[in-house]
């Protein structure tokens, strides 16, 4: 008899979601859907506010990545005012975003995902979480907690609070970086880098062993990926041009401007999710979820590894051949089991950029 399996809520993710699996009469999987089930109405209630209030308001879209929304609001404010942001403020915004990347990816890797890798997908449900990890490997858990703390503390040193600091404003930032804050960052940076290196090494070991099977099958579906690229082809996190690559790592579009986003990015609606479905306009809406022109599925995690021919990532490249052996057709950073890796790599880059 046909039936639907519902996973509700999806836990240890950053938001509200459910998953449904549709089985046919023979018990075979015929469809699987990921449903986002949160809607607040920012599209409506932001309208009519002063543009200077957008940073404080849009940051509340997400308490995990408020800085991303804050910077988008500040950059838009720059353009409305037609002002050039002073060099020091550009660097301070960059520092803010690097701290954001550090804390958010530390959260994703250590707090949320690592219990699956380290305690096991099939381990006791009551222990397969951050507190289970703290009990099983307190030193690793402490290192992960302190890596996230490092990022959060830098956010507070800059903006006066860890979450929802409306510190980037149209035209620049609200305050300078104090000497004391700079010295704190420099003193704590070696520990942060060591923890990221430890995480990368650990994950590489897992890919070679316990996760070998998952690598071949887990979340293997086509998607487009989007990232920012600096004018010299290097990694970029605030400015730069937009690049799209496909699941095979082939360049789809390059040197796109954020100002023209509406010409190449579209959003479709499906009745079964409150999340809209972004797609690359020149390719149109995918006809099906698998086996046709893919949705633009990943915009920040996997795509933040620089795609295309200019990619250079020594620590990342060292693990790449192992993933290639599992599925030769798709580049490693575009595969689901490698996303934890590609989430760690920007933290390495972030911690190396200071």
């Amino acid at each position: 008899m046909a039936r639907t399996i519902t996973i509700d809520p999806v836990t240890r993710i950053e938001g509200h979601a459910k998953i449904t699996l549709q089985l046919d009469d023979a018990g075979q999987l015929v469809d699987a859907r990921f449903h986002v089930v949160e809607f607040r109405g920012f599209e409506t209630f932001c309208e009519g506010h002063l543009f200077t209030e957008m940073g404080g308001l849009t940051a509340r879209i997400c308490g995990i990545c408020p800085v991303s929304h804050l910077l988008a609001a500040a950059k838009t404010g720059d353009k409305l005012l037609a002002v050039q942001v002073p060099p020091a403020a550009r660097q301070l915004r960059r520092l803010l975003n690097l701290a954001q990347i550090c804390q958010s990816h530390a959260l994703s890797f250590f707090h949320l995902s690592s219990p699956d890798f380290l305690l096991g997908w099939e381990s006791d449900v009551a222990r397969r979480n951050l507190f289970g990890l703290m009990a099983a490997d307190p030193e690793l858990a402490r290192a992960g907690i302190r890596l996230r703390q490092f990022g959060q503390q830098v956010l507070e040193l800059l903006g006066g609070r860890k979450i929802h600091a409306a510190w980037a404003v149209p035209g620049g930032v609200r305050s300078h970086l104090s000497v004391e804050a700079r010295d704190w960052i420099l003193a704590r940076l070696p520990e942060a880098k060591a923890t990221v290196a430890q995480a990368l090494a650990l994950y590489k070991t897992l890919l070679d062993g316990p996760l070998a099977r998952e690598q071949r099958t887990f979340g293997d579906f086509p998607s487009l990926f989007m990232a920012l690229i600096a004018s010299d082809g290097r990694w970029e996190c605030i400015e730069g041009a937009i690049r799209l690559v496909d699941s095979n790592g082939q360049l789809v579009a390059d040197a796109l401007s954020e100002d023209d986003y509406a010409s190449f990015l579209g959003e479709a609606v499906e009745p079964w999710s409150t999340l809209k479905f972004p797609y690359y306009k020149p390719w149109g809406i995918p006809k099906a979820f698998i086996g046709s022109a893919p949705w633009l599925d990943s915009t920040c995690a996997s795509a933040s590894v620089p795609p295309g021919p200019t990619a250079s990532w020594p620590s990342f490249a060292s693990a790449a051949p192992r993933r290639r052996a599992a599925a030769a057709s798709s580049p490693p950073h575009l595969h689901t089991t490698m996303r934890a890796w590609s989430r760690s790599s920007p933290v390495w880059r972030a911690s190396s950029s200071w």
């Binding site: 519902t6 996973i7 509700d8 809520p9 836990t11 240890r12 993710i13 950053e14 938001g15 509200h16 449904t20 449903h35 089930v37 949160e38 809607f39 607040r40 109405g41 599209e43 409506t44 209630f45 308001l57 509340r60 879209i61 997400c62 308490g63 995990i64 408020p66 959260l107 707090h111 949320l112 449900v125 009551a126 397969r128 979480n129 951050l130 507190f131 703290m134 009990a135 307190p138 402490r142 907690i145 996230r148 703390q149 959060q152 609070r161 860890k162 979450i163 929802h164 579209g266 959003e267 479709a268 609606v269 499906e270 009745p271 079964w272 999710s273 409150t274 809209k276 306009k281 809406i285």
Partner: protein, 182 residues
């Protein structure tokens, strides 16, 4: 050894920021783990059903849809002490900004006018919850035992609330450091 407390955390309509601030307790989380088991939490548990016999439940977010309301009623029934955790739970805050419009018009704007293709309201009974016509603060839906304001409440404020609770005392939240909105 005293009896371990059963702690739950829930997020309703909000941004997860209060839960992030809870994680900003950083290494004090080890201390928390000495006193309590986290029996239900979006960030630290895979349990799908809100369990019976919860001692303390922190509730982030406003009540904005049918799932939020159902979970709020359930957690109240199964928890000894419910904490309205952060400004969205305490006042409705940002999610309640949509109360200036009807449900229909915010959905029309988000999914009709601003969709390039296939404009339609999300509608999947049993999966996508129906919006409530008005977003409500938690205490207008269930009885609340303690209010911890802030957007989000900073970690030291959360600790000031949790530490006495873990030791069986009622926290006294007084003064601007512990009671400020925003």
């Amino acid at each position: 050894m005293t009896v371990r407390l059963r702690l739950a955390t829930v997020w309703l309509a909000g941004c997860s920021g209060c839960h992030m601030s809870l994680l900003d307790l950083d290494e004090w989380l080890f201390e928390l783990a000495r006193w309590a088991d986290i029996v239900y939490s979006p960030i630290a548990s895979d349990t799908k059903m809100f369990p019976e016999g919860v001692d303390i439940c922190l509730v982030e977010g406003a009540v904005a849809n049918s799932d939020n309301r159902e979970l709020a009623l359930q957690l109240r029934e199964r928890s000894r002490l419910v904490v309205s955790f952060g400004d969205c739970a305490v006042t409705g805050n940002v999610p309640a900004l949509r109360n200036l419009w009807s449900c229909q018009s915010v959905l029309d704007r988000g999914y009709g006018e601003l969709a390039d293709q296939t404009p339609q309201h999300p509608h999947a009974p049993g999966i996508v919850p129906e919006l409530l016509e008005r977003v409500l603060p938690l205490h207008q839906v269930i009885a609340v035992d303690l209010f911890v304001p802030g957007c989000p409440p900073p970690a030291p404020r959360i600790r000031a609330a949790l530490e006495p609770l873990l030791q069986g005392r009622r926290p006294v939240l007084e003064g601007a450091d512990l009671l400020r909105f925003g």
